[in-house]
Point group: C2
Chain length 637, copies 2
């Protein structure tokens, strides 16, 4: 389906075409850009609200700045759809987030306008400051460096680290704080309150009341008192707005807040700021979902709604005749509540992903026991460690890819102290359309090398529930459970809890010469491949190992006594992963079977559906089937 851009937008093939637009045209372009985003996303899906919120900002930035010479860094980047459309990618934009199509995030390989690849939050100030310092080093004085960062991303610690450095640098850096009071879910924390406070001038109002209060008391000083007060007040006001500002505290010149939906005002402010050297911050107020009223009203729902009818706002949902398996995240969300009802030590923690992790279910029914700590993975983990020191059992739910942010905290604060923190790693393995920045490919390797850490992965919903049940039993130490994005395999998933002894696998099928050893959801692929092989008269064994650490050594002794050929399967990187754990076991015990390891190769795999990527890497059901056939042929030679 070909989607037509508006007349003016149709003529914009690069930002060069925007330079001469007048005030009226800039408004028109903004409207057409917004419409085009609605038109495309409603049909093809993708992130929605964030890009609508920065339409005017995007137009103003490319009108004022000399991109791509000037370096424009979008934090997180799911708000950069307008940027992509204006920078030569309008006609491919319908391929956004599809296999072999455009990336859903800025990406250096894709365009010279994408100054820095993003996906994770809070990186933009560091990156732009690096660029700005490089320009200082190269004496490129005219070059501008802009980081556009949301209020949610600003709570991530590295943004603060970067501002601490920026404040003492002399480089030409403009930070644009895109303040919409939202992350994916409503933004949380003291910074949010503070931004609201300066936005609504509460600080100034409090000051004024204070002054007038004093002046009231001193009215005995005569009629001049009020006039003096008024003078003092206006002086105090301008002073206060500077000095009482958190960003000014960090030596960043602060401007704003201004209306982020007034494109012409933005243009004039940005033009002014271009001439002010040094590090500075412009506070823009925007509305997530701006211009699409349903999205303005329910911003979390419309963060990435899937496809929808743009006129009625009806979000398209597949209708099934039979009950479907739930998402793994939903199983987590309901199960933690069930467990927490019985075990009063259980607490829930998410860094800014209440809806993404489904911890919002617990937050609703047990608000005092479930925390959204903001985009703050490091804090989330050490906060959990603190809870655990007092005998509680925190379930800290972090996407596999974001767990990379808290790696040190897992080692230093949890594992070395052997504390009972349960890590639920959602979106483990390929994340799908979000692509390489979001793939959870590395966690088996980076967790397996940590002492005391249990590394587990359920093959289905019942197993996830049982692993969660097991993890909250007394004194289990650091315990990780990884599960994929998307749906499980059991429509009837609400099974009774059963303890799983740590480090035990399941034998699912006997076989002749060859065995599949699987970890996690890919076990279902082995089942499928095994059935197909069975039809050809080939008996292939299947063990769902459940744990990459500790390994089920007794089961593995059986396996290597009985099978000459072994195929390990994991939705994770092959370097140091589950398959390597098996090789280590073999080496340590002198086994010599032929082992083929299937999983994610040592390269940056791009975006696509999860199944497309599993296929690309050869561990979809057919990949397993083929690998088995190839080995079994070897046997007959």
């Amino acid at each position: 389906m070909q989607i037509e851009p508006g007349k003016l937008l149709a003529q914009i093939n690069s930002p060069a075409d925007m330079k001469s637009l007048d005030a009226v045209q800039l408004v028109k372009l903004s409207d057409e850009l917004r419409q085009y985003i609605v038109d495309v996303v409603s049909v093809y899906g993708g992130h929605f609200g964030a890009s609508l919120g920065v339409v005017e900002l995007t137009v103003a930035l490319h009108h004022v700045f000399n991109t791509p010479e000037d370096q424009l860094v979008w934090d997180v980047g799911h708000q950069a759809y307008g940027h992509k459309i204006l920078t030569g990618r309008r006609d491919q934009f319908h391929t956004n987030r599809f296999y072999n199509g455009l990336s859903g995030f800025p990406k250096r390989k894709e365009s010279e306008y994408d100054a820095f690849g993003v996906g994770h939050s809070s990186t933009s100030i560091s990156a732009a400051l690096g660029m700005a310092e490089a320009s200082r080093h190269k004496n490129e004085k005219q070059k501008q460096h802009i980081a556009v960062i949301g209020d949610g991303a600003m709570t991530g610690g590295m943004a603060f680290e970067a501002m601490n450095h920026a404040g003492v640098s002399k480089s030409n850096l403009l930070i644009i704080l895109n303040d919409n009071c939202m992350s994916i879910d409503p933004n949380v924390g003291a910074l949010r309150d503070y931004l609201t406070d300066i936005t609504t001038s509460k600080t100034y109002n409090k000051m004024r009341d204070e002054v007038w209060n004093i002046l009231g008391k001193i009215s005995k000083f005569g009629p001049n008192a009020q006039e003096i007060g008024s003078k003092v007040e206006s002086s105090v006001k301008s002073f206060l707005l500077k000095q009482s500002n958190l960003f000014e505290s960090l030596n960043l010149r602060y401007f704003g807040p201004i209306d982020g939906h007034d494109v012409n005002h933005l243009v004039s402010v940005l033009n002014d700021l271009k001439d002010i050297p040094g590090p500075k911050i412009l506070h823009c107020l925007t509305k997530k979902g701006k211009g699409y009223s349903l999205a303005e009203k329910d911003q979390t729902k419309w963060h990435a709604p899937g496809t929808f009818d743009k006129f009625t706002g009806e979000i398209h949902k597949k209708v099934y005749e039979t009950p479907q398996p739930p998402k793994y995240q939903e199983v987590f969300g309901h199960t933690i509540v069930e467990l927490a009802e019985k075990n009063h030590k259980i607490m829930g923690i998410t860094p800014a992903m209440p809806s993404g992790s489904s911890l919002n279910i617990m937050m609703k029914v047990m608000p005092d026991r479930a925390y959204d700590v903001g985009i703050a993975e490091q804090h989330a983990v050490t906060f959990s460690a603190g809870l655990a020191t007092q005998g509680l059992v925190p379930f800290c739910n972090i996407y596999s890819t974001f767990m990379q942010r808290a790696y040190d905290q897992v080692i230093h604060d949890v594992a070395i102290q052997n504390l009972n923190v349960v890590f639920c790693l959602d979106r483990a393995g390929f994340a799908g359309a979000d692509g390489p920045t979001h793939h959870g490919n590395y966690d088996i390797s980076f967790f397996r090398c940590i002492p005391n850490m249990v590394v587990s992965a359920p093959m289905n919903e019942a197993e996830l529930r049982n692993l969660m049940y097991t993890a909250q039993l007394p004194d289990q130490g650091p315990f990780s459970i990884r599960y994929p994005r998307g749906n499980g395999v059991m429509p009837d998933w609400k099974t009774p809890f059963e303890e799983i002894k740590i480090g035990t696998g399941r034998k699912l099928k006997e076989g002749d010469a060859l065995a599949f050893l699987t970890l996690g959801h890919v076990g279902n692929y082995a089942t499928e491949a095994g059935e197909k092989l069975q039809k050809e008269g080939l008996d292939v064994a299947h063990y769902d190992m459940r744990f990459a650490k500790p390994l089920d050594e007794s089961m593995l002794h059986d396996v290597f006594h009985n099978y000459k050929y072994v195929i390990t399967v994991e939705d994770g990187c092959l370097q140091g992963g589950f398959g390597s754990a098996i090789l280590e076991f073999m080496a340590d015990h002198g086994y010599q079977s032929k082992v083929v390891r299937l999983g994610i190769p040592d390269e940056v795999v791009e975006h696509g559906t999860q199944m497309e990527l599993h296929k690309e890497c050869g561990f979809d059901p057919d990949g397993l089937y083929q690998a088995a056939k190839k080995l079994l042929v070897l046997q007959t030679i």
Copy 2:
């Protein structure tokens, strides 16, 4: 050598013994505690300046609070010597940092007074907030939770993440900001300037000037103007101190700054604060090295000076008759300058470790090209990525253990974008006396699974220089070089540069049935073991592989064609490390040699000298010798 505590200190066997001390006694105890630290550290070594700086604070805290019931968390923890001495560990304190002795940091296993194990910076607020929320959950209303954090640690992003959460919590949390303007080196960044600013009341002074300026202009209003102004001023003052405060911005009640060396004032303030509910921060001004004048004057040198004559201040240095090998860090420090003189694209980055990494050498001669970004590993890496996007070649020097803090940034900002950032991982492998929080055990595993990343380790100084030379050649992509704490092996280390082709090892010795494959400095142990075996007529081959990734596949084909027995050796964890890389190669190519992997086992190994720990784990020279003998015996069976 028995060191006698002062008379009062000798009676303090736990904080219970301090409760009834009067004001005079508290001063006396502080003096004796300081003296005891000087006496012990001068003889036995350890961290010095930090603990001297918090003597009065330590005494006041244990006098006022009900430890260990109240939870006292020391950030970083190298300042907790006084805490250890007062909490029942006085008579073991001379074993501090020795093998099987006390840990140099608070450690939960060691004492119930050590509420949270530390070592890395900036964790204390998160941990204490977790404890405080646990107390809320358990309805333990009297319980106090205190985090003592330095101004340097405050720049670490996770401290900000924690404050963002603390500011909206209702929990009973006291943050004590121990502000001495120092990390190990002088503290840097905008926050430092800000703290100085509020300490010296510059903000308030500016405000006052502003008000008087206005009042001057309005003196025509008559004699009352000054009086009105004065009233307004005092009102403005108290308001401003609250509102213009960065911490108050985050909704933490701010108190101070107060003199951190006035023990009785501290006692009275802490007693007052006990009764104020909610999150709050007390700003204490202290001097690192307080009370030992040389340490006050050169705080970096006296951070951890080794042993010294406490009267003359002469630091004991071993005197050698022949030239000794340099520290690896010094080789790095000098070599980067040599390379940067020729290659103008090279920049240097350290997060708060200029003296620890020896980047201070470059900072001195090329101040515009070498950055200390503060305790901010995440920012350091992404800032480096930003520099690299502009064609520069940043050398980002981070201790292996602290690289854990920036793991996501390495993957997300450097590796996925394949940027030319060189990571120099100092203190890789066992860190020695600093113990498990500082051991750099995991980097081979956690870097090896990252696409595009080169993982290398030099066996000696010349190799380090050549790897650094190689890394700065054009388009090398992400390149990591790990090297150990301490000295190398080449007194004559300033060798000419030679490119090392990426992914090539060195054959150092031919042999018969068995080969050592080593990575990094442990290659020297293999040389030693090989010589000993040679004397017994046993010819053992030795390959210095140099790269854990990419592997020298051609060399490995040779090895596995020729050697039935292989011993891999690494100063790193065995799970997923260098040895596992070799196993993966074997599995992928169908080799069946018997492989023994030597390295760090999957457990928390405590502190000791590096050689003590290498021996404990069986990869000291004798361990290699024994492992080889054992395998060679197998052969003869």
